[in-house]
């Protein structure tokens, strides 16, 4: 690891310059800290949903939360692959992928395994799998643009797409995440906030049944803080579900006309 002798050593100052560029968005001592997009701590980004984004699919939905843009299509129920074993209940196959241009640094555009399994786990509890035995429902999600809280948007959008495809569900699945920055709990974080977060909490729930289908927590949390975070998220989920419901109603009323 010898340094190249030819290059003239430019002045190297380890921390000050990098520190300045590193902590632009959040400072623990700053009491009057405001979020980069000017939202309140407990204010979500405006949500936009539209069903029927892809004609070829049995059901599809597009969601846009600020800069996060996601498209989900649902295929099936269709015949399971030959290699699959017989199953009394239906199968759910989920896949989440990113486009190469979704992230600030050009990505690989490959499947995101971690998110795929999370999507599967959050949806399987809501879908009545008994209604399509021996068959498979495929849920393909594509993140067009990653602007933070990608997974919650994908999950909410996927449940809307499933509803659009006419798959029987116990309830819509709404999902909201929350970041812990210092002492503040910040709901629906954007990409920058997520990259500086001390901890994160993600809830997916069925609001009408008041059941949590999936929950993950990272970082260090005390019990009262988890309590507070969960309450905030559950509250936001029920509001989000209302928006999703109205989107579905809108779609059916326009198609009837």
């Amino acid at each position: 690891m010898a340094g190249q002798p030819g290059t003239t050593p430019t002045t190297y100052s380890p921390s000050p310059t990098t520190q300045k560029t590193r902590k632009p968005i959040f400072n623990k001592d700053d009491v009057d800290w405001v979020r980069p997009d000017g939202r309140g701590f407990h204010q979500c980004r405006p949500a936009f949903f539209r069903t029927g984004a892809v004609n070829a699919a049995s059901g599809s939905a597009y969601a846009e939360f600020g800069n996060t843009k996601v498209i989900v299509s649902v295929f099936g129920p269709r015949e399971s692959k030959k290699a699959m074993m017989y199953s009394d209940i239906g199968r759910l196959n989920c896949s989440v992928s990113y486009t190469t241009f979704a992230t600030p640094v050009r990505g690989q555009g490959s499947e995101h395994k971690d998110f795929s399994s999370m999507l599967h786990k959050s949806l399987e509890g809501a879908i009545i799998l008994e209604t399509f035995p021996k068959t498979t429902v495929d849920v393909f999600a594509l993140v067009l643009e990653s602007g933070g809280s990608d997974l919650p948007v994908v999950i909410s959008c996927a449940s809307l797409a499933l509803a659009d495809a006419g798959i029987l569900m116990h309830d819509l699945v709404a999902s909201v995440s929350l970041s812990c920055l210092g002492k503040n709990l910040v709901i629906d974080p954007i990409l920058e906030e997520e990259s500086y977060q001390d901890g994160g909490l993600l809830i997916t729930c069925m609001p009408s049944r008041y059941e949590v289908t999936q929950l993950t927590v990272t970082g260090e949390w005390s019990t009262p803080k988890i309590n507070e975070g969960m309450q905030l998220c559950l509250d936001a989920c029920s509001k989000l579900a209302k928006i999703m419901r109205s989107c579905l109603k809108e779609a059916t009323s326009t198609s009837q006309e």
Partner: protein
């Protein structure tokens, strides 16, 4: 599941007999077998062989009606002739009963399922544990000499190995004052045939992600069990990369807790060589380093959280579930808790929804359980380390 037969034979207490019959009465599907058993027991009582009553109640649980019928007729014949060989005949048939259970694939009969669920509801599980009791934990450290640190954890039949390898690398530009840690889990096909090829991949990813979530803290590094800034050698230029690789040798449930414990043990076994940085390098040059092979730095592992998985079966939660118990779960929550009692990560498994109040209750139960687990694990690790030093 053949071993269970013997456990019953040896350890059946009066309380569990009543439990068995209670469990049966509440399940209509098995009631026919149960009645059959009662009938046979009646016959047996007439022949005054009291021991076999207990046996019969147990055997009937795991025998389908088809299997029980010929036996019943046999016992009827024996009973009417008053044969003293009855007891022997039963023992014989049990010992040669087909083994239905193989690792990985859990095929349980309705009776077995009911037995597990009933046991959990009454706070005595099939291996005699209470709901919140762990299996004995066996810790061995320094099992892989090639690695910087390693440990093997055994809890019942669950057997995992964790190793830590340290390599010098470059910190990422976004966080120049932090080292890097990565956790990988490998589910080897030696543990179960279904892990062959890509079969174990899904479980491997799930476990790796859950471990990263539980042990590495948030993105900013807050709440991490491993202090990443202690891994830096020269800020922005050289740091240690820790590669934590885990191997599932044998799986009998509760893998995540075992893996978490193995990582904790492996890290306390880890020695990182002291690095001498040659002075004089400046600017963009990579400084020259000299890695000592005599002096090692130890990790402070007291802050590393333990993972407690609460498996919900019926209305109750259990810790340290075996594979059979896991097959009966509706959902499970893995909570990692550190010594301060703070939650450092949480993952949910299983599709069924949970009421938020139940989640909070599970968190408080996990916090309570973790206190004992941390102390137990620390003393086990210390004992293992001491044992290794002596040898």
């Amino acid at each position: 599941m053949r071993f269970l037969h013997f456990t019953f034979l040896l350890h059946l207490k009066p309380i569990s007999i009543t439990r068995l019959s209670l469990a049966h009465q509440s399940q209509p599907a098995a009631s026919f077998t149960f009645l059959l058993n009662l009938f046979v027991c009646f016959l047996l009582l007439r022949t005054s062989v009291p021991l076999t009553l207990t046996h019969f109640l147990c055997f009937g649980l795991r025998w389908s009606v088809a299997e029980a019928l010929p036996l019943a007729s046999f016992s009827f014949l024996s009973a009417s002739s008053g044969s003293p060989f009855l007891f022997f005949a039963f023992k014989f048939s049990v010992q040669f009963s087909p083994v239905r259970y193989s690792t990985g694939m859990v095929g349980l009969s309705p009776g077995e399922k009911h037995f597990i669920q009933g046991g959990i509801a009454q706070d005595i599980r099939s291996d005699g544990r209470k709901r919140l009791t762990y299996r004995p934990i066996n810790v061995e450290t320094g099992v892989i000499p090639q690695a910087n640190g390693s440990a093997r954890i055994r809890m019942g039949a669950t057997d995992v190995i964790s190793t830590v390898k340290a390599e010098l690398g470059k910190p990422i530009s976004l966080q120049p004052d932090k080292g890097k840690v990565s956790i990988y889990v490998d589910c080897s096909p030696t543990a179960a045939p279904m892990f062959e090829g890509r079969g174990g991949e899904e479980l491997s990813t799930e476990l790796s992600v859950a471990l990263q979530r539980s042990l590495l803290g948030g993105k900013s590094g807050a709440g991490a069990g491993i202090d990443l800034s202690s891994l830096v050698v020269v800020e922005g230029k050289i740091c240690w990369d820790l590669y934590i690789d885990c191997l599932v040798v044998c799986s009998d449930g509760n893998l995540l807790d075992a893996l978490g414990a193995a990582i904790k043990a492996a890290l306390s076994n880890t020695g990182i060589p002291r690095v001498q940085v040659a002075a004089g390098a400046s600017g963009d040059e990579q400084p020259e380093v000299d890695i000592s092979d005599e002096e090692f730095l130890q990790f402070d592992t007291s802050d590393i959280p333990v993972i407690v998985t609460l498996t919900k079966v019926g209305r109750h939660y259990i810790v340290d579930a075996t594979t059979e118990e896991e097959s009966q779960m509706s959902s499970a929550i893995s909570i990692s808790v550190n010594r301060k009692g703070h939650i450092c990560g949480l993952t949910k498994r299983g599709g069924a929804g949970l009421d938020p109040s139940i989640v909070l209750d599970m968190i408080s139960v996990a916090k309570h359980v973790s206190e004992q687990l941390i102390n137990k694990l620390d003393s086990e690790i210390a004992a293992a380390e001491a044992g290794e030093d002596e040898s």
